[in-house]
């Protein structure tokens, strides 16, 4: 079974920054995760670019910055017509790092795992507890 391919699509230069960070930390290349901006794109252009980045077949996940908006809209349209396409919205660095090291997992299992990873990757703290923010839990 082929490994899952990922494309981050986001506003302005966010996708580039996220993917560059993942590469700097993990050392993975473009074959695992690539970046796409929605800047200057009509809905059709963004859809076409995203489809090209995903390739015609094979398991893939589109990571978007928000759950709504033009990036998520393009992802959802593509997921309706392209088989084996998952979507993870609100992607952050912990999610993307986990993704590049678990691309061999079946797509549904991987999507569920990444959603959980994203949620648990956000913690909160204030004042005196800030020094222990890594132990704070946000659910």
């Amino acid at each position: 079974m082929s490994e899952v391919r990922g494309v981050v699509v986001a506003h302005a230069s966010l996708a580039d920054g996220l993917v560059a960070s993942v590469r700097a930390i993990s050392g993975v290349g473009d074959e695992a995760l690539s970046a796409l901006t929605n800047e200057g794109c009509s809905p059709e252009t963004l859809r076409d670019r995203l489809l090209r980045a995903l390739g015609p077949e094979g398991p893939a996940i589109v990571f978007t910055d928000m759950g709504s908006g033009s990036c998520a809209f393009a992802a959802r349209r593509i997921a309706l017509e392209r088989p084996d396409t998952g979507i993870v919205t609100g992607a952050n660095l912990p999610v993307l790092l986990d993704f590049v090291f678990h691309r061999e997992l079946p797509l549904p299992e991987l999507v569920d795992r990444l959603v959980e990873k994203g949620r648990s990757g956000i913690t909160g703290a204030h004042r005196e507890s800030a020094a222990h923010a890594d132990r704070a839990v946000s659910r």
Binding site: H11, S42, S68, F73
Partner: protein, 161 residues
């Protein structure tokens, strides 16, 4: 005026509209006017995912919107009207239905036959003619992608030489 934004934007409901404009304008309702989407429940569902819960959304054909437009201009909810094509705006503006309203050009992107006017605005000659026709029907026409950006009136929307 209850039509707080009348916008031409190929992306229709997206971040700039919901967050950038919808917040400062305190909009209560988004109306998408598009014959194709008005007949497509699954596309409506996708667009609604981008709308905050407190904001109502409806999808109308041009004919239905023309019937309702005078009511939107009276007292009532603060409405954002969205169309994705200049030609749709022209149909809505016919018979001076948009007189006194500003038609905001917020996102028409590069495509075959279009010339670049602004980074977020590309127009075909036919679209430019439609905009002139909308202005002749008594509406103001200006480009501005976000509230903080400079308003560029129709007279300045010429392709760079």
């Amino acid at each position: 005026m209850p039509i707080v934004l009348f916008r031409v934007d190929e992306r229709l409901i997206h971040g700039q509209v919901v967050v950038g404009w919808g917040g400062p304008l305190h909009a209560d309702r988004i109306v998408v006017v598009d014959d194709e989407i008005a007949a497509s429940p699954w596309e409506q569902e996708l667009y609604c995912l981008g709308v905050p819960e407190e904001m109502a959304t409806s999808f109308l054909t041009v004919d239905d919107a023309r019937r309702e437009l005078p009511a939107w201009r009276g007292a009532g909810p603060r409405v954002i009207v969205l169309v994705r094509e200049v030609a749709t705006a022209r149909r809505l503006a016919a018979e001076r239905l948009l007189e006194g309203v500003e038609v905001n050009l917020g996102g028409i992107h590069d495509a075959e036959g279009r010339a670049r006017i602004l980074p977020y605005l590309y127009l075909r000659p036919a679209e430019r003619a439609d905009l002139e026709a909308i202005a002749a029907e008594g509406a103001a026409v200006a480009a501005r992608d976000l509230p903080a950006a400079r308003r560029v009136p129709l007279e300045e929307l010429a392709p760079p030489r």
